[in-house]
Amino acid sequence: MNIQNDDTLLQVDGLRTVFDTRAGTVCAVDGVDVAVRRGECLGVVGESGSGKSVTFGSVMGLVRRPGRIDAGRILFDGRDLRALTPRQMRAIRGRDIAMTMQDALTALNPALTVGEQLAEVLEAHDEDLPTGRTARRRAIRDRSVEMLGLVGIPSPGTRLGQYPHEFSGGMRQRIMIAIALASKPKLLIADEPTTALDVTIQAQVLELISDIRAELGMSVVLITHDLGVVAEHCDRVMVMYAGQVVEQGPTADVICQPKHPYTKGLLGSIPRLSLRGERIHPIEGQVPELIDLPAQCRFYSRCRERGADCLKLIDMQDAGPARQARCIRVTPEAAQ
């Protein structure tokens, strides 16, 4: 696997996103580096409040007051997104980078039909549309029908005229994916696309994303809290905890041989049929408040392997081929 610069679609360096509140400055994302290669699927795992959604909300330029990006560089396809004007950013958002939200019911506009919402994206971003009014309208309709068909909505022609509430949860999620994909983006950020869905529907939606990724050659960032989803669908995984990346590497390696105690704890927390009769080992305690964090390992208070040497800022350490973990007990393996 060669890691060349032109192979990288999205490169985030030292991203720091903060929220100014009355209680103090909440550092939701603190020094996060991300690299997404062309055509790959990156899984981002973490519990609520770990900063996974804020990281990619920052990439999309969706962080609003009281939040702000405090530091860092976001390079997408060679362009520095933070240097762009809002107008330039709008041209990229939705066209080159698309995002689907966790809750499809609140993310879709209840007062517009699905067809109108698809048409909006096409009007804004599709440059191949003909100029004549009738031809344009027909082209938009044809493309919309095509998109709904692509995500597996039966009889897309009639369904275009319906409102979001007339669809089931799985269908709404698929409609949101159709809207996100209408502009053929280079990068799809899927924020918990299946959390609200039943397992049989979840499997349908995830396979749909995989199929379309292969077809269009786009990159996918899959934000989830489910390690099982990551194991089955992602090439690489990035584990976040309290605003930092604590471990990253190829999915199979991270899941089979986790290096960071938090990743080990997460994997050990999953109940399974095969573990019947054995005690599971939950991570004790809770995620720390993200205000005025002490200069020490953020996982310190919950860590089974902690020691006095953990009471300082810990950097990412090399942990084997293409792997890193933010733990001082980690050493790169000589042989693998």
Partner: protein, 343 residues
């Protein structure tokens, strides 16, 4: 502690049904349109032995929560009978039912919606003591409350705080304390860990299994998460559109599922252990609307094995041995959607 298999079950449910009637507008009545009826739970029977955890799996809308609530008569069943420790619960008058609820409790899914935001922890957890007259003095009530709050892993210092001062996992502990304070024998756990993060979920599961052992409890554990059910249940029932389609000992049902719905459920669960080594059954389509359930076998609209008989006649539940049973016309053909993938 656990009763031998031939002892009478602690809880037995026979032919339990619950339907909801839609409202009929005047126009509909004049037009002579029939009233819409949702059959949320349809003729369900099973038993739970003392000290056992019965897992109930199903997707949203399958009626699993309604079943749990109908057992406790939080939703009055439309038909059928629930017997608890020899008493016909469904026939109890209101006062008798109230007393019975000391012995039968419930833990809810949403730790945000199920606690009164204007009551302190001591008031929330202590309420069952007051309702059932289990404490002679307020001081005694507070002592009992403090003891149970510590048992579920909170501190006595938390007693005078309000729910909004707690995290989701801590709130769920408050809900558990409220269910346990009257020393019940049977608890319906209605998706108690679904709203929680993975690491907190594991803490609560561990707590529930520890409490069950210490206090000799019996659970009906409702969940959509097969891994959770597989980890902690002794027996399991799989529900689809208001009916139990398969039930039996958890190892038998989950490692050798016989109903095509259970098989497709199992194959849809993403697993950490052996990614990609699974033949995936693709179920097409969504759950049919319970307002107009399909005729015959309710699963036939999504079943890859459906034949003509499945579309016309409802299957009966048949035993396959070892307490394992399933309702499928093609049960004895030994068909499996889950082919072993060549290694």
């Amino acid at each position: 502690m656990t009763g031998s298999p031939d002892t009478a079950p602690l809880l037995s449910v026979e032919g339990l049904s619950k339907s909801y009637h839609g409202q009929r507008s005047l126009a509909h009545r004049l037009a002579g349109r029939p009233q819409t009826v949702v059959q949320a739970v349809n003729d369900v029977s099973f038993g739970i032995r003392r000290g056992e955890i019965m897992g109930l799996i199903g997707e949203s809308g399958c009626g699993k929560s309604t079943l749990g609530r109908a057992i406790l008569r939080l939703h009055e069943p439309t038909a059928g009978r629930v017997t608890f420790d020899g008493t016909d619960v469904t026939a109890l008058p209101e006062a008798g039912m109230k007393a019975m609820r000391r012995r039968m409790q419930i833990i809810f899914q949403d730790p945000y919606a199920s606690l009164n935001p204007r009551r302190t922890v001591a008031e929330i957890v202590g309420l069952p003591l007051r309702l059932h007259g289990l404490a002679k003095t307020p001081a005694e009530a507070r002592d009992i409350t403090a003891a149970i709050v510590e048992k579920v892993g909170l501190k006595t210092a938390h007693l005078d705080r309000y729910p909004h001062q707690f995290s989701g996992g801590q709130r769920q502990r408050i809900g558990i304390a409220r269910a346990l304070v009257s020393h019940p024998e049977f608890i319906v756990c209605d998706e108690p860990v679904s709203a929680l993060d993975v690491s907190i979920q594991a803490q609560i599961i561990q707590l529930l299994t520890d409490l069950k052992r210490e206090m000799g409890l019996t659970y009906l554990f409702i969940s959509h998460d097969i891994s959770v059910i597989g980890y902690l249940s002794d027996r399991v029932a799989v529900m689809y559109l208001g009916e139990i389609v398969e039930h039996g000992p958890v190892e038998s049902v989950l490692s050798n599922p016989r109903h095509p719905y259970t098989q497709s459920l199992m194959s849809a669960v993403p697993e950490v252990d052996r990614p990609g080594h699974k033949h995936r059954v693709r179920l097409t389509g969504d759950l049919p609307s319970p307002l107009s359930p399909p005729k015959g076998c309710k699963f036939h609209t999504r079943c890859p094995l459906a034949t003509d008989i499945c579309r016309s006649k409802a299957p009966v539940t048949e035993k396959v041995g070892g307490g394992h049973a399933a309702a499928c016309h093609r049960l004895h053909e030994n068909l499996s959607l889950l082919e072993e993938e060549p290694a």
